[in-house]
């Protein structure tokens, strides 16, 4: 019992460190790598404000994907929006008192969980049914989908079938903030759910999940279309100029 609690406490400290340090390393690397040429995919906004709007449309609506493939968009957006609601709902385990908006979002979080699993199922089906998508799929793509489906399903099972003591869980996580290790309920479903979540946090900075920070650094999406008005030059490139 105490072993399990200690193990999970350690696991989450470790996973949080890997996630934060790994992501920070990647983000710093992206930020420090110069983009020597202006390469926005045009038509592109001609102002910084326009770029912010373009990026928001990409993040919130998946605009390009919408133009690219409607099925993938439907399932992909369902999954991500579901995941977003679920994440908001889960905040109640990590803050005390629970902010009012988070209280409001609670019921929607459950629909989010269902949407997430349905979306993932659709995305996964594509990997078997569409020959082109099947061709580009590697084992890791299946594993990540499997991981997320498993997280979603264990979560929904706890909500609808095998209830767990959420108060104790909250005490456990709040305790972690002050290195005060509180007992975690030894419910197998919960333990599996948490194990998978920790795994997701650990692989995040080492997998294709880097698409999340990546999008914000994509020069074809985040550059202003103003090359004639403003000279753009990278430090390494200016060394070539001998005048």
């Amino acid at each position: 019992m105490a072993f399990l609690t200690n193990f999970y406490a350690f696991l989450f400290y470790f996973a949080a460190c890997v996630l934060v340090a790994g992501l920070a390393r990647k983000i710093i690397q992206y930020a420090l790598t110069p983009a020597p040429l202006k390469i926005p995919t045009t038509p592109a906004p001609t102002t910084q404000r326009g770029v912010v709007l373009r990026m928001m449309r990409e993040v919130v609506l998946f605009e390009s994907l919408f133009r690219g493939n409607k099925w993938t968009w439907i399932f992909g957006w369902m999954f991500h929006f579901g995941l977003f609601l679920v994440t908001l709902r889960h905040l109640r385990y990590f803050i005390d008192p629970v902010w009012f908006p988070i209280q409001l979002v609670q019921p929607f979080g459950i629909y989010g969980g269902i949407a997430m699993v349905v979306g993932l199922a659709g995305l996964w089906a594509r990997r078997f049914l569409v020959d082109r998508v099947k061709y580009i799929t590697s084992t890791s793509d299946h594993l990540i989908l499997g991981l997320l489906v498993a997280i979603g399903c264990t979560g929904l099972l706890m909500k609808f079938v095998f209830h767990v003591d959420v108060v104790e869980i909250k005490t456990f996580f709040l305790g972690l903030y002050s290195y005060d290790i509180q007992p975690l309920p030894a419910d197998p479903l919960l333990l599996l759910h948490l194990l998978l979540v920790a795994l997701l946090m650990i692989i995040f900075p080492y997998s294709k999940l880097l698409h999340m920070p990546g999008l914000f650094f994509s020069p074809t999406r985040n550059q202003v279309d103003n090359p004639r008005e403003q000279r753009h030059i990278a430090p390494w490139a200016s060394k070539l100029e001998q005048r």
């Binding site: 992206y30 040429l37 890791s140 999008l215 994509s218």
Partner: protein, 510 residues
Amino acid sequence: MAKATFKVPDLTQYTEVPAIQPGAMAHSQPFIAKAEFQEPLGYPGELVENWQERAIEKMGELLGKYRSLRVYMDACVKCGACTDKCHYFLGTADPKNMPVGRQDLMRKVYRRYFTLAGKLFPKLVGAEDFTKEVLDDWYSYFHQCSQCRRCSVFCPYGIDTAEISMAAREIMDAIGVGQKYCNEIIGKVYKVGNNLGLPGPALIDTLEGLEEDVYDDTGVRVRYPIDQEGAEILLVTPSADFFAEPHVDGLIGYGKVFHEAGISWTLSTHASEAANFGMFIGSYENMHRVAQRIREAAIKLKVKRIVFGECGHAWRVAYSFLNTLAGPWDFLDPRYPVPQHICEFTYELIQQGKLKFDKSENDDKVLTYHDSCNVARASRMGNVPGGQFEIPRAIIRATCNNFYDMDEDTIRDRTFCCGGGGGLLTDDLMELRVKGAKPRLDALNNVIQEKGVTHMAAICAICKTQFSKVFPYYGLEMDQIISLHQLVGDAIVLTPGPEDDEPDDDDDDD
């Protein structure tokens, strides 16, 4: 007539997405550059001994220099949105011609050498050593990408396979595996000043011939000056414009526009090429060196403005990169953007009512317009986004009575590449070029059938050359592709100058 050693695809009403055929285009490779074409560009003449090590080292260098490459290697989620967007995949069905399939050729090497997951679990994440077979695939398939950026439009992260193809070509050049077509051409620019290797005297000769032709045709003396110091405008145009139909009709058109504008202009023997093949091989250094010639010519000829002729990738380098590569342009007239596109120039005159057209001159044609990929997705014209679509169309409408657009899904930023861009416009890649043209020709064929279109106008030297070459494979005539400024030149009403009455005693002043 074109005789094919491969099966030319049948045109279909809508371009269908084919079932994948792995390996269908594995045999397609351009000729390798010999040492004589490699060395002037600063590359080894043949495959170097420790090529694997050198390639990985070069890849590391590029990952540090280009954020695009770095982010794109990591970010792809294999969503598949790009898989049916590339004209080469649609025309060949080879899955390595799906943009993500092409990227993965590099990504698997990247993962193996540069990521933790690929070092620890290569099988799991599809990582692979950089073997001779992989290099072979690189040479094949990174020369089956015309860097048209259609994939980047639909990718949720804007992953641009062109960036990856460019990097791959640069890595291959660095280990001595260059492509003959591109590298030979860049060498010609360094030696002679243009891609076709046309020396100064030949250019002067051609232009004198043009002046006579136009005079015979119209009775008006339109000048086609070259190396004229003190002219207001330096015109930089693809060398194909000096050389052959349908390009040269565009050049004739530019001259007539300048004539009517009453603005002095000049070409340059030193910068007699708008295209910059340094981009195709992903080499910033070579691109920089080629671009410097334009700066040098502008300074030497003391011009105040720079205008570019019709060329797609050239306009990308000009619009998006020239300020970076050869700027700042503080010695030019600040009232005008540097550089300007000839279409922007012509359009502005039309707006000001300075050009008169007799549209009926083009009544023998029913037109459609091909958005060249790099103009559409990598540049702009005018001062609002999308001007690159509207300005050429506005010019066509001002000069022609009969114009129909092709299917919306195949124009503007969703346009299909002609199939010959990005350094692939060479006879050793004919099969690829013919098959890659299919999506564009499907849409063209549709408007031919439904609207009676007879001609397609374009503003890119590569497009024009490619279409005149591949049209016959599909049963069209090679002269159904024309320069946009041919339409302008044919419809424009010229104002006779004072010397036009006595054509005989007109001395050329140099």
